[in-house]
């Protein structure tokens, strides 16, 4: 049994069949065995709510609201925990030391660090195409990442 955590960008693509990456992601999700678990971090739900209230028009806001409801029905929502908080601190510090990233650069990746720490805690695979996760893998070999768009 495998557990996956979908990055929010992947979730958006799953509700947009016109996206160029849609077919490949659809194929990967369809081929998973029943015993696998597909999850979403609670932080991604925060992202959705920000999008719902900050959308440039009411149409997009409603589209996002419906998408969020489907996600809550189909996938397991993973909370933030004490264990993942510790891992977050460890990953973020190691990344800072390794890359010498600026404060703005570090801030931009806060959500990614949260996703990575949740994935490590849950022994789950992050589904994302962001290469920040490959960089984290350089010092956290236990982190598993898959890109379903290739």
């Amino acid at each position: 049994m495998k557990r996956y955590i979908l990055d929010a960008n992947f979730l958006g693509t799953l509700e947009d069949s016109e996206s160029p990456e849609y077919k490949e992601i659809f194929r990967k999700l369809s081929s998973l065995p029943d015993e696998d678990e597909v999850c979403v971090s609670i932080i991604s739900i925060y992202e959705y709510y920000f999008g719902i209230f900050n959308a440039p028009d009411e149409n997009l806001s409603q589209q996002l609201l419906k998408t969020k409801d489907t996600i809550l029905e189909l996938f397991t929502i993973l909370p933030l925990t004490l264990e993942s908080a510790e891992l977050y601190g460890k990953i973020k510090t190691a990344y800072k030391k390794q890359t010498g990233a600026t404060r703005a650069g570090m801030r931009r990746h806060n959500v990614d660090f949260i996703l990575a720490s949740t994935a490590l805690e849950q022994q789950a695979v992050i589904v994302s195409k962001d290469n920040i996760f490959s960089k984290i893998q350089e010092f956290e070999q236990g982190l598993q990442v898959e890109n379903w768009t290739v």
Partner: protein, 84 residues
Amino acid sequence: MAQRRLTIDLDLPGSAEALHHALQILLQYGLISDKKARSIEQEETAKKGRWAQAAERLQSENYLKGRSGEVRKLFREFREEFEL
């Protein structure tokens, strides 16, 4: 009028939508009953795994209809401003 029975193997794309459209065409020409069409759709859905069914649900809803790029921009804005 005498009826003739004909069996055809169809190679349809894997989606429920394709099967639904094919059955609608057969219904339109009176080549299949409503009841039969419904039972075929139900059988096909039951055969599929839960993630294939989930993917098909997402495909049929298609709520973002070409706007996922704008959604990614909103998520990027959230991430660039997010601090703990």
